[in-house]
Symmetry: C2
């Protein structure tokens, strides 16, 4: 049965003229044991909530997954799809993508991401079980990972967190083949992985990855452990290939006709390209249906659950919907905020929003990468998630920004929770590879990114974001909101939670800001990315654009300009990226026709020309920041109402 996987992988890569045969051939025994003896799944319903998760962290070995899908009868992956491997519009892309192929739990490929997100998946399982009971939630997360996954730094963050929380239902199957692209792993690595995992609080063993009995025995042991388990399976990459097996030649390119023929011969596989003998296919198809009765039993337990709980589970896990009262809750909060205006930081405003929505969103799963008191991510009633105790709903992710972002991907992929995690905006750089996976894989998570400019102050340029707004706005399917005051913060939070097809960054100030929204609006004014906050007195000669903490500066400049007889309006731009996604007429309408356009943002200009044009005025940063109190820095870098007024009047005179 393992040879069926190997043959399909070799044939598909050969036909595609590119791909990675080495891993599927090397790990076929591991996968066969797992799928035939352990994995709880039902090929007819790859979305069954209580299925075991199988995550191929080494995403380049995607043919392993596609072969298993085809063999077990997943409807998405037909033999034609296998033949169309790595071609446009196929269900079998180069790396597994959850939004393309049913059964792919999460998008993998960039190494370390599957490993790291699996921690979130395993954590979500335990949290959900604590809430809904082991009758309804009781599954294991299996991860097949490679040397590369374990060399990436994020693997450290992931296994440290999993070990700490004692996620005993997380099992890594490490395809320990000793080969990387440059050659033998000994060129660059000599870590003792078993000892390493043990130091991180894991159960860890090493076995022969081609000994199916040993594999089965190790998985059985892992299932009884009170710790997460890493099973290092010594394998031969490209197992069966007469000349390339055990070398980097087997990793990332077709074997070639001759070597392929030699491999089939060595494996005793006497069949043509894409040919699977009836009996082998039949045996695999049976495996695909083995979980059906467990599935049916589960369905029955689910149907007879207490009604409130069942509909809650249905909403959160199956339908993945937000609570219906979310909009009303935000509206009520906005009214309250308008009634009692507060000069507070938007990070503090964000905390007020969290306090307001927490009672109606039991799925809200907050946390911080060890900046809880700075990120204001913790509501008063919060209870910590602790090692082996999953009744809490607040996660101390530790100083692990990428680990946090990846875990949130896994939590979201699992279903049942709305994860939102905080760190400083500057450290989105650390989290970025996992944020990109979220954007690419349509994963709704919220990043609470505080200290979003030089307003951070004394900690200096290493901690002051300058280019981060631009760099995140450039990413497809990522929303970035930078609200200006409490009301905008509430609106942006609503939009973040309603964005269920991708991630959202909330960029929040450290420093207190003047409220700019002082009248109640039932509508969410931030929903098109920008809106006119202050109208001009007559036809506008000048349009000022600003986001977040600089909106109050634009408002002050507007006042000065208006008093000088220059008709000026202010457009608040909580989301430049969302504004740029609007249809031409909407965008033009918001941007307006004023002769002079000036933007102010305590960040680099890059991207703003789309609004103000190459000759527009920009008041902001062009270098890194500096270490000093925030007020001194705004003055030093010339981000003031006076500078905005000057930029506008100079341009009025010039034109």
């Amino acid at each position: 049965m393992a040879n069926a996987i190997r043959a399909l992988a070799m044939d598909a890569v050969e036909k595609a003229k590119s791909g990675h045969p080495g891993l599927p051939m090397g790990a076929a025994d591991i996968a066969t044991v797992l799928f035939t003896q352990f994995l709880k799944f039902d090929a007819e319903d790859p979305r069954w909530p209580d299925r075991d998760r199988f995550i191929l962290s080494a995403g380049h070995g995607s043919m392993l997954l596609y072969a298993l899908f085809y063999l077990t009868g997943n409807e998405d992956v037909t033999l034609d799809q296998i033949k169309n491997f790595r071609q446009l519009d196929s269900k079998t892309p180069g790396h597994p993508e959850n939004f393309i192929t049913a059964g792919v739990e999460t998008t993998t490929g960039p190494l370390g991401q599957g490993v790291a997100s699996s921690v979130g998946t395993a954590l979500a399982e335990r949290l959900l079980a604590a809430e809904f009971g082991d009758d309804i939630v009781d599954h294991t997360t299996y991860v097949l990972c490679s040397d590369g996954d374990l060399m990436e730094g994020v693997s450290h963050e992931a296994i440290a967190l999993a070990g700490h929380l004692r996620l005993s239902k997380l099992i890594f199957l490490y395809d320990d083949n000793g080969i990387s692209i440059d050659g033998p792993l000994t060129l660059s690595d000599s870590v003792d992985q078993v000892a390493r995992f043990k130091a991180h609080g894991w159960n860890a063993v090493q076995i022969d990855g081609h000994d199916q009995k040993a594999i089965a025995e190790a998985i059985k042991q892992a299932q009884t452990s009170d710790r997460p388990t890493m099973i290092a399976c010594k394998t031969t990459i490209g197992f069966g290939a007469p000349h390339k097996a055990g070398t980097s030649k087997a990793h990332g390119e077709p074997l070639g006709a001759e070597e392929l023929a030699g491999a089939k011969k060595a494996l005793g596989w006497n069949y043509g390209p894409f040919e699977i003998p009836e009996d082998v296919l039949h045996a695999w198809r049976n495996v695909g249906r083995e979980g059906a009765s467990a599935h049916a039993d589960w369905r029955q337990r689910f149907e007879t659950m207490e009604e409130t709980k069942r509909s809650e589970f249905q909403r959160r896990v199956v339908d993945r919907k937000r609570p219906e009262v979310l909009g009303d809750t935000i509206r009520a909060l906005k009214e309250k905020l308008v009634a009692t205006p507060q000069t507070i930081a938007t990070r503090k405003a964000s905390e007020l929003v969290l306090e307001a929505i927490e009672p109606i969103m039991p799925e809200l799963l907050l946390g911080s990468a060890d900046l809880t008191p700075s990120n204001n991510t913790r509501v008063k009633s919060a209870k910590d998630v602790k090692p082996g105790d999953f009744s809490g709903r607040y996660i101390h992710y530790g100083i692990r920004e990428m680990g946090m972002a990846a875990a949130m991907n896994g939590i979201s992929a699992h279903g049942g929770f709305a994860p939102a995690g905080g760190t400083f905006m500057c450290f989105t750089d650390y989290a970025r590879p996992s944020m990109r996976i979220a954007a690419l894989s349509h994963t709704p998570v919220v990043y609470i990114m505080t200290h979003d400019s030089i307003g951070l102050g004394e900690d200096g340029p290493t901690h002051q974001p300058v280019e981060h707004l631009a760099s995140l706005r450039a990413m497809p399917n990522l929303r970035l909101f930078r609200p200006a005051d409490p009301v905008e913060t509430a609106e942006c939070w609503q939009l973040a939670l309603e964005n269920t097809t991708g991630p959202t960054v909330l960029a929040l100030s450290r420093q207190a800001l003047q409220p700019v929204r002082t009248t109640a609006h039932a509508d969410n004014l931030c929903s098109q990315g920008a809106y006119e906050l202050v109208a001009a007195d007559g036809t506008a000669e000048v349009s000022l654009f600003a986001s977040g903490s600089e909106v109050e500066i634009a408002v002050a400049a507007q006042k000065q300009l208006s008093e000088g007889g220059i008709a000026t309006r202010v457009v608040s731009v909580p989301s430049l990226d969302l504004l740029l996604l609007q249809k031409d007429e909407v965008r033009h309408g918001i941007i307006g026709e004023a002769r002079v356009k000036v933007a102010v943002e305590a960040a680099v200009r890059f991207g703003w020309d789309a609004v103000i044009g190459p000759d527009g005025g920009f008041v902001g940063m062009s270098t890194f920041g500096a270490s000093a109190p925030a007020k001194d820095l705004y003055k030093h870098f010339g981000i003031t109402a006076e500078a905005v007024v000057k930029a506008a009047t100079e341009r009025l005179q010039r034109n």
Copy 2:
């Protein structure tokens, strides 16, 4: 003597009304032992090449460093500077910045960065010693790191690489205080760090970090080990503070007047703010001059070195200059490339450049994060750097993108080498935090980033950069070049190596490209970021802008438009960021006055409006890519000469 550090740290943080007293107070004993008994340095010349390096990875504890600098007599850090801690234009910013304060080896603050760059520093020392002899190069790299440093993923990459290479002159002093911002470390971590480091091939011990004898003994042991050493020093954060010691309250805020007074009392320190008794200061100043005789001896050995070697050392390590023949070498190569035009990928062209400059640049230190055959980073004569053998000059960094970038920062900071390392452009995301440190700290390194677009093909969207060009262009003091053919590649490499005040990214294609530069130019046409590649026949109605692999598309479109009677020029833009840094008249001159402007780049539009304006045409990507052969993808996403022609003619008709 240790209390002098504690007192200065408490007083400075108190006066600044912000900062981190906890680490300097906790680690004062460690630092005192290191500086008084081990560290080879001469406070009068903090740039002495053979000094030991002391890297404060936990940069938030900067007052530890500043206190030591002041006490030992570093001229940059006077008592006034200490009093000016964290203020504008001081030499004592919130986190240590190498370009502001003499004696700061490298900019730290974002956790993990010091730890990771120190691996490069220790490696550079061994490589340089292998070349110039232990008489001239023989120093140790000491790193003071914190829990946070060791939680960050990059610490894994760093210690795995250091352990693998057996960098025995690298010694970590881990301030093991068990406290993080959220509270006790037990909230988020339970890694056994000693076991962890041992699994990574290190020597590791745990000691009492307030027992000066134990500290000295451990450092002595470390110096005799054939492995890098980690000394876990159990300390009390905020040591001495009566109520806050040992709690997160001591970490990141002033102690407050009362607690400060209590701490001084507990420490038996009966002096006012910023007051250091004469005898203590005298003792410290003596420490600052203890290295003077070793320095003088070294100077004598250096002066009597063989002349060629001495001037080579002077150029590379002291003056940090590139070889004078670099310009001529590139010119000669360009002539050769023009004489025999080749349709090759720019990654291949980059390899040709490396082969040409390697003989004249012995400081060139190449490597790859396990993509050597794809990045074309290895010249034919290359010899690998191996565990304990530092005669080679090629580094297999392993699958450790951030580790590589950070190590290159450390190599560059150390001096003597020009590090250049490769991975896929998409994985700049992984390296980004270290790339930012390079940009911020004026560190010249070169990133060889291949597979720079959907041209990567079948590996699909996880591996296809789309937003990366924009996200990197937004970063201050980072240059990004995306050459179009072999001649441009040679020119961009020259500019990269001549950029000695910051890092440079070379974005290189996977796929073969038509040569567009077919005549020889002695000048470097890429030096202003862009230039007119094809002139219009008459006054241009249309200007086409393109970079890298899309220049040939723009050239083809120009031909079609010209044949249709529309005067069209092509501007090649190898560096959009460099173009945008040019003075207005230069920039306007290059961009030109054509009525219609269209840019083509297989990436997102973000940033291009600065050239083409909000109404300009853009042919590129607006979503993530897909898995398919490159040619199919260019067609699928409509990045073709026909699309460029259409965008231009539509706009001509509209205006």
